[in-house]
Symmetry: D2
Subunit: 344 residues, 4 copies
């Protein structure tokens, strides 16, 4: 059994890790920390876990965490910067769900997160945990940066086109719609049911922190800088991201995009390319570690529209984190992640 530690387990990615790990046959949560909830049973805070966990939250303790085979960070940005190094030094492995190690350029990180990067010395070995791109590096990594939710949905929708050199790299638009759980479990007026239900809005149009992360991933795929317009929207639902990605064919009008995507993802356990003409729904991936994608060329023009859906808390966070863990520990990649989406 893989001994698992979780730092900061009171938020939505934390409880989602607990939900998924409860059903994982090869992993066992040994430690879960929360300064504010120390002493509270996780099942008292999250009654859905009653009968599945006896564990209590504890104050973060490096010794206890160092005894774990792997430590997940489900914390706000900045926390993993200060704690990850110590765990690595003691021989542990770290899977960080926060943004701390996603951007390779420490200065760029500092610019978008308004604080100095706290562990630039670790950036060299951090692996961006998108298995569909970095599977082999993940297997041997000691430090994983789990991609953000929007970046996962957008990159999986776009990289096959960029890798194949089919689209204009200067002109990519990602219009994204997210459920409210993406804003976390913090007590903010803007996340109240009465403020978000029965309404739709864009936010962060001037610049969202996932923009540089997406750009880095797209640039890797394209081998050149990518001009990206990224507009996230808040949608009145709990879970789910729907990315609608617009790009322009750069001349190769005859390309078979459907075949391209099907081949690119043929061996991927968690990317499902739907039949041509499909419209994926976020509910079809609710609670599961799947990205569903479909391709369109409206009126057979040169505009490509890729639709991509994930559950932001699973393939967009905790499920992908466990997928990384499975790779790191030589397990079947889908171990513990074969649930069926909850419909209706």
């Amino acid at each position: 059994m893989i001994k698992v530690g979780i730092v900061g387990g009171t938020g939505y990615t934390g409880v989602e890790l607990l939900r998924l790990l409860a059903q994982h046959p090869k992993a066992q949560v040994e430690v879960i920390t929360s300064r504010s909830e120390a002493g509270v049973a996780v099942a008292d805070m999250y009654p859905n876990l009653r009968g599945h966990y006896d564990l209590c939250f504890t104050v973060p303790d490096s010794d206890a965490l160092a005894k774990c085979d792997v430590v997940f960070f489900a914390t706000p940005h900045g926390v993993a910067h200060s704690l990850a190094g110590d765990i690595l030094q003691r021989g542990g492995r770290v899977i960080d769900l926060s943004a701390d190690f996603r951007i390779r350029d420490a200065d760029l990180w500092a610019e978008w997160y308004n604080q100095p990067h706290g562990a630039p010395e670790l950036l060299g070995e951090a692996v961006y945990g998108l298995p569909e791109v970095n599977r082999e590096q993940i297997r041997t990594a000691r430090l994983i940066a789990v991609p953000g939710c929007y970046p996962t949905a957008v990159q999986l929708a776009t990289i096959p086109l960029l890798e194949a050199g089919l689209i204009d790299v200067q002109d990519v638009i990602a219009d994204c719609k997210s459920g409210v759980s993406g804003a976390g479990r913090g007590a903010k007026v803007g996340s109240l049911l009465c403020e978000t239900s029965e309404s739709m809005m864009a936010y962060g149009v001037a610049g969202h922190r996932h923009l540089p992360e997406i750009q880095q991933g797209l640039q890797d795929a394209a081998g050149a800088p990518v001009g990206l317009t990224f507009v996230p929207h808040l949608t009145p639902m709990i879970r789910g991201i729907h990315a609608t990605v617009y790009s322009q064919l750069n001349g190769q009008q005859e390309a078979d995009l459907q075949a391209l995507f099907e081949q690119r993802y043929a061996d991927e356990p968690f990317v499902d390319v739907m039949p041509a003409g499909s419209h994926p729904t976020t509910r079809s991936v609710r609670g599961v570690n799947v990205c569903r994608i479909s391709l369109h060329r409206p009126q057979n023009g040169s505009r490509v529209v890729v639709l991509s859906v994930i559950d932001n808390l699973v393939k967009g966070a905790s499920g992908q984190a466990i997928q990384n863990m499975n790779l790191m520990f030589d397990l079947e990649e889908s171990t513990g992640l074969n649930q069926v989406g909850l419909m209706p």
Copy 2:
């Protein structure tokens, strides 16, 4: 492997059977019938099943069903009346999720369902599939009537009090709130998002078909007829039933109700009596086969208030049906039913 047939798999209890059976280690769906969708792949109709099923819907065929070890009926009432007998005769076993065999009195059934009972000769051997009451009969049954959703939530909340003789049997009120999936997948104006969202209403106050079913179960527990007022309400959510059951202590003011419920359900894998003073949420059981219960005596008076929550499609239908199957086939009762509720 238990070979499973499903008659009428296009509704919500059908797709929920498919979701749960996909994760069941000892059962395999061999046949699923739908006259209207014959030839359609179940994964085309329900994209959450993509990757889990290759099966297509087929026209109902007694021979194919008879080869199954067990046949689930997820059909409107009346259908199982005409088909169950044939399956039983050929040596099959039947688990009926409809109302066809829930009420033991054929005349009473006919009165509430406005049509003659189609198979009164089978009533003698039909077992009411509430494992918390009829576990031993279920093990050897050939024909199971899976309880209705409201009846499950209300009976589990009330029978400990009735069995112990603690409450006035003439004065039980069940105020129940259900998500819209209880109304099924039929194309009805009354189930549209625009008609049900952002609104709350009672319905069927004059008389709902679950009333005689609940009364029968409560009477069995009490050993006497029970005076029941049952008011269901439509709630703007997909899944979940919240039953609030009001009864009156009949004098034994000192009874320890918390201990009574804890003892009554001590060995039950799917009934969770919460600590005194708790308020269970329907989301804590979303997608799982659990009934959570808590007990209150406001202002320490003689009124008892029992709160009981289930997922109407799981413990209130398809999950309970599989729980019955597990018992009938000598499996661990919770096989394939240990998921964790989806929260948030």
Copy 3:
């Protein structure tokens, strides 16, 4: 024009006052206070008010408020206690939407609100602003205590039965369901969309602060203490209260309850007794100052079930407050309150 002041206008009852008063032909908001938002334009905080108000929030200032003909308090409890007296002394009139003056017994108030009553000397002249009961006293009142949301729905559903002496006063149950806006605009985890959507729960079963308020009103109608069980539930919608009130006929089985209610409310502009057998929906009163009621006697038994719906922010708060204002200033009672509910 009536000059209106509003103290504490940043919450949901505050913005609802602004919405309704913008459409009121005889009233004009002159002052709106908020310590935390002083200097902010109300239309910047609430964009639905753009084009309707030029007003900014200001720091509370007794002089400015004293120049108003009437001051609404849309504040947490305790605030009106300290400010109302001063306004009355300077000749102003006060309509308090908080709980400060609803309960006539200062000790009882202190017990339920966990603090001493801050203005017991004003209790004698405070009028409970339920026009259907206290219309004449309201006309001449200087200080109005606007009823709570649950109390409005429950009292209108119950007092005709109590006034007529038809039911057992020892046995009234009010099972109430409220939208989340009843919890206010405070940044609380429990009010997040991700915590309340797609779920249903009871709360405060041990004792909710509206219990003594309802009991006081029912006792006034009955002329005797009333035994009440009150269980509120949180429902996944923004607005609306659905009260389901259960009582027991005390012998007069032949009473025509439908006629009783129709006569009791024949001249009421804002109480709509629906035809027998109806099931009112909360959405039918969304945004409007109406209480819709229907009556049931399931199976013609002695149990009476009254269904009562209001919009908690309108007839349950700000609309009722304006109805009181209209009476106090000799306007047609429905002035500015004749909107049509938003459906769908």
Copy 4:
């Protein structure tokens, strides 16, 4: 008083006309037709109208309709084709909320609506009822084609840029999100709460009927054909459209877009250009006849992002229809349309 007739009043645009006209001081609904509901009181079908209408639905009758000053068609496409001509001939005026007269080219209409155009002879005099573009023609029109919901939101967001010649006309993308009421009140599985709630999906990417309508309007503004990619999405809410329109500045990087929009709409009663950097919410226009717009240029690049929100049933249908009526009958344009959006 303007005597109003409504053909086909049982759908959502019909009941919304009734809601708004109940509050209109200069118009009175005299006739409302529905073949299926003839004889039913409108207030029985729509309880929110109780106390506001005594009217019953009647079978369509040309004589009765011809006595009205104006007849609204709130019907599926094709119906106005056959009836409008007769009403015009008898001297009536017609405001058609359906798609029958929106597209000037009868062949193009036939192609998108899969049936021959039923009244090409009327196209010459039909006026496209977008007051912000065609105000003067509307004043004297006998036949108005009320714009579709998506077309209203997208055109108001885009035409100032096109009129000013600031953007590349070959490269406009409209990513639109609509509430479910846009799908109407028909009993379709795809509109059930259980199918649409807690989910997001694109639809009609291959080609939606509003595409040619939008293209016609944009072409009029640009004076040249416009290359448009239009992707509608279904959003889990009742009302509201959020259009996110992407276009490319064609070189004039210094243009002050904020000033451009503010000037273009300076005298418009129902277009609200928000301050730079704003993010309009659909709830801010819930129930009201307003389009709120804000402008962005992310990272000060050449991509322009315009956010535009309306209530699809008001400014996107029935409210805009009444705005047209006001113009046709020389009333103040905003008569009866000055409600405040319902928030929360």
